[in-house]
């Protein structure tokens, strides 16, 4: 029962991430795309944690932790490059 609930929540999170792809493609400015990528990355972290609990694979929680770290690093580094070098991307 718990596994079914967690897998259903993971499905819903994947579907909301697909909405974020629209903003990545359309987004008029660069920060729009970065914020959408950040949104999708947070959703991926949540989906990894939910699936790790649903299929009984606790090792995948480490993957979720590293993915959250990389997601944070991506947003911060792109913002820093933009401010200091006037638009590296």
């Amino acid at each position: 029962m718990i596994e079914a609930i967690l897998l259903g929540a993971a499905t819903a999170f994947v579907l909301t991430s697909l909405v974020g792809i629209y903003r990545v493609v359309v987004g008029p400015t660069m920060p729009d795309r970065v914020i959408a990528i950040n949104f999708i990355g947070s959703n991926v972290v949540i989906v990894i944690a939910l699936i790790a609990a649903a299929i009984g694979e606790p090792g995948a929680l480490d993957i979720a932790l590293v993915y959250a770290l990389l997601n944070f690093l991506l947003s911060i580094s792109i913002s820093k490059f933009q401010v200091e070098r006037g638009g590296a991307l």
Binding site: L6, A12, F13, T29, I35, F72, G87
Partner: protein, 103 residues
């Protein structure tokens, strides 16, 4: 249903609700600053509730401690990243959206 199943169900449903709110805000709001607002607050609350559901499904053990650490990390970093992006947009000179009749 056991109490643990009820707790996991409630936390998952509210997490999905806040994720949908964040997605709607990301699509419908007019400029980067308001989209940052939607994507940071609603998304952070959704993340916290979903990871709370995962921790509740584990109960009290080592894996739940790992999930709680992940939860605290996302609670700190998600708004920080959104703030940094909004600040970069401001320094780049993107004008905030206003209505027509405003001075």
């Amino acid at each position: 249903m056991t109490p643990r199943e009820i707790a996991v169900l409630l936390l998952s449903v509210s997490a999905v609700f806040f994720a949908i709110v964040a997605a709607v805000g990301l699509i419908r709001l007019p400029d980067i600053y308001s989209r940052t607002h939607a994507a940071s607050k609603s998304e952070t609350l959704g993340a916290i509730l979903a990871l709370g559901a995962v921790a509740a499904s584990y109960g009290f053990d080592y894996n739940a401690l790992k999930v709680v650490l992940l939860l605290l990390f996302m609670f700190l970093t998600n708004p920080t990243a959104a703030h940094a992006i909004a600040r970069a947009a401001r320094e780049r000179g993107i004008e905030p959206w206003t209505t027509e009749d405003e001075p």
